[in-house]
């Protein structure tokens, strides 16, 4: 995919998520009181409303909950096809990430595949993509 990825605007809430890849870590906001996770990130726990929240590194593994193979070049120069997936993260109940599955052919991807995060850096943003665990 040679087309630049649409770039998130960094702020206090999302910075850890989008830059954690520099340390090879996937960060999800976790509550220091109830231990549950909030994603998309917010300065408050959506489960117990505690403000004692902070970005916490998670395992970075998960399973493909569902996916779609996209064939439409939505942006100029976008290389198709590619896989968009909804990944259910290990150890982070209730949190899903929309991502791309990379490093394999599009027709090799299936429901329930085990995946692991891999980061793609572009101008200081570390996009968490996933590859199948063989």
């Amino acid at each position: 995919m040679s087309t630049p990825r649409p770039r998130p605007k960094l702020d206090a809430d999302n910075r850890a998520f989008w830059t954690g890849g520099a340390e090879g870590k996937l960060y999800i906001v976790r509550c220091g009181d109830c231990g549950q996770y909030t994603h998309p990130p917010k300065p408050i726990c959506r489960h117990c409303h505690s403000e004692n929240v902070a970005a916490a590194a998670v395992a970075g593994t998960g399973v493909i909950d569902t996916y779609t193979v996209n064939h439409q070049p939505w942006l100029p120069g976008l290389e198709v096809p590619y896989v968009i997936a909804r990944v259910k993260l290990d150890g982070v109940p209730g949190v899903y990430l929309t991502t791309n599955i990379v490093g394999c052919k599009v027709d090799e991807v299936d429901f329930g595949d085990r995946v692991r995060v891999t980061f793609e850096e572009q101008d200081g943003i570390w996009f968490p993509l996933f590859e199948r665990v063989r």
């Binding site: 995919m1 087309t3 630049p4 990825r5 649409p6 770039r7 998130p8 605007k9 999302n14 994603h39 998309p40 909950d65 569902t66 996916y67 779609t68 193979v69 996209n70 064939h71 439409q72 939505w74 942006l75 976008l78 590619y82 968009i84 997936a85 909804r86 209730g94 949190v95 899903y96 990430l97 929309t98 991502t99 791309n100 429901f111 943003i125 996009f127 993509l129």
Partner: protein, 388 residues
Amino acid sequence: MAGREAYITGIGQSEVGIRLTRSPLLLTVDAVREALAEAGLTIEQIDGVATYPGKMASFLGFSPVSADELIEALRIRSKWHMGGAELPAQLAAVASAAMTVKAGLARHIICFRTVYEAAALARPEEFPPLNRQFVDGPSQWVAPFFAISAANWTAQYAMRHMKRYGMTREQLAQVALNAHRNAAINPKARAIVKEPLTLEKYLSARMITTPYCLYDCDRFTDCSTVIIVSAGDALDEVKCKPIRIAAMAGSVNRYSWDQVEWPASYETGEDLWRRTDYRPKDVDTIQFYDGFAFLPITWIEGLGFAPRGEGHRFIEGGHRIARDGELPMNTAGGQLGAGRLHGFGFAHEAVTQLRGKGGARQIPGDPRLAVATSGGGPMAAALLLARD
């Protein structure tokens, strides 16, 4: 307590086309004129305006006209107006107008949805496309992965339905096939659909995002649709047959397309039946949001016309949802057949059928009860419409 009821009175629609040159404000005025004429109302009797999603400066083709502009242009003396995207889907503008007349704040409210997405593509200097270089808000969690369109977001729920419940492409195809059959005899859809659709053509069409092919995604269209909502104690001013808003429902609990376990159509569907004594078996026609082909299946299940996981079997073969079937669906052609009118077309067609004004596409019998819906991702709205 007719005074506490809300009714749809006038309905109107501008020309429906691709790359129209008439200004979006004037298209809105065209639809207003038709709706006023049908209701037998004058603009002086209008005292409210509601729209979805409000004028969007960053994405003018998507929503080029504000409630303020219409008030200004037509010299409306408004007592209550509203326009915004932070509502549970498109028809929530109509539901909000209904609440307003029930509360006694206005008597006749013009609700409109004007779309100009095809024209905008042709005239980008006037109607610039959405800047996708930088993203924030909810889109930052999907667009960076080139999950640009709601087609990508809803397709994943459709894929899950195939895996979990065995939905086939042939079953999914019935939504588009039914839409095209109905659009073919809708004079307003002539600019949108030129050729009949067959299952063979559907199955060989190019893929957009699995399982959606070209025919499973609606097409950018230019149009304005108007629904006038009137208070029950103002019906003596109206000449057309009023259609009562018998129940309404809407929901959003995660405003994230990828964090919801089920599209909001399920929760909204259950809520709708809690607010009325009518039951699904009483419904004569369904007008279900079909911006993407899977969404009507979620509404069929969410509103209890079929159990969860069996909506695709309900529409199998297409007979049940055909114009002469037991539950005619999207009789004007929906958005897949008649263009992306963005939600308001479903209420417009429900009222048309309940008044027996469908012409060649009028469903048989004496339809008295219809459901019109919009949305189906993380947000959804449903209206139950009755001719008493």
